[in-house]
């Protein structure tokens, strides 16, 4: 299940959605808004997306995940709009029989989303705003 949403992401309900008696291992990644980026204090992050293309690519990523690993449930959700500090921007959650597959698939999901899906974030600082573009992964506020 993939979606782009303007509503706050409820991590607990995503956990409930992926868990089942068939799955022994659940791995959930949540990316949240951090208060610093490259040494500057962040006030908020603004996400925008090319929504129909983003949903299409996220659905393709779910398919790739299911093709590579035997997964019971997959949830990939990205929020757009203005997010306050600590809010959840993205969740990738996977349930599988065993933990190895769950870890690998969950990691693959977030890595592919960050690499491919047409979503952009703008950092809002005290003294201005800046699109995050072509920055090394390790330096982005939300990895």
């Amino acid at each position: 299940m993939v979606s782009i949403t303007t509503d706050p992401i409820d991590v607990a309900s995503i956990y409930q959605a992926v868990q089942s008696v068939h799955a022994g291992g659940i791995v959930l990644f949540a990316g949240t808004v951090r208060n610093r980026s490259q040494g500057r204090r962040v006030n908020a992050l603004e996400y925008s997306a090319y929504i129909p293309m983003a949903e299409k690519l996220m659905a393709a990523i779910e398919e790739q995940m299911r093709a590579q690993w035997p997964l019971h449930h997959v949830v990939l959700v990205h929020r757009v709009g203005m997010l306050a500090l600590g809010e959840v921007a993205i969740v990738t959650a996977v349930a599988a029989a065993h933990r190895k597959e769950a870890f690998e698939a969950c990691r693959f999901g977030i890595d592919r989303i960050k690499a491919e899906v047409p979503i952009w974030k703008k950092e809002h600082f005290e003294d201005g705003q800046e699109w995050v573009v072509g920055r090394d992964d390790a330096d982005t506020p939300m990895t």
Partner: protein, 82 residues
């Protein structure tokens, strides 16, 4: 001459101050011709030519992809979701 709809996002949207723009494309009617036509109107776009990817009808493709009138295309700046 064909006409395509160009969707704009992130920094490109800020340059054009628009979500979408119609662009007339001359031969060879491909993605690169569309970009060049747009960059002629908005010279600030030129700096983005090497970093954007072309999407046609919601799929990434190469700049030499031939376009058809009515295509929805986008020049996708480096993404930063997550």
């Amino acid at each position: 001459m064909i006409t395509v709809n160009v969707k704009l996002f992130g920094p490109l949207k800020d340059i054009l101050h628009a979500d979408e723009v119609k662009v007339n494309v001359s031969p060879p009617y491909n993605g690169e011709a569309a970009f060049n036509a747009l960059a002629e109107m908005y010279p600030e776009l030129r700096a983005w030519k090497s970093s954007v990817r072309l999407a046609v009808n919601l799929e990434y493709t190469s700049f030499d992809r031939t376009l058809t009138s009515g295509d929805e295309i986008s020049f996708i700046p480096p993404v930063s979701g997550g």
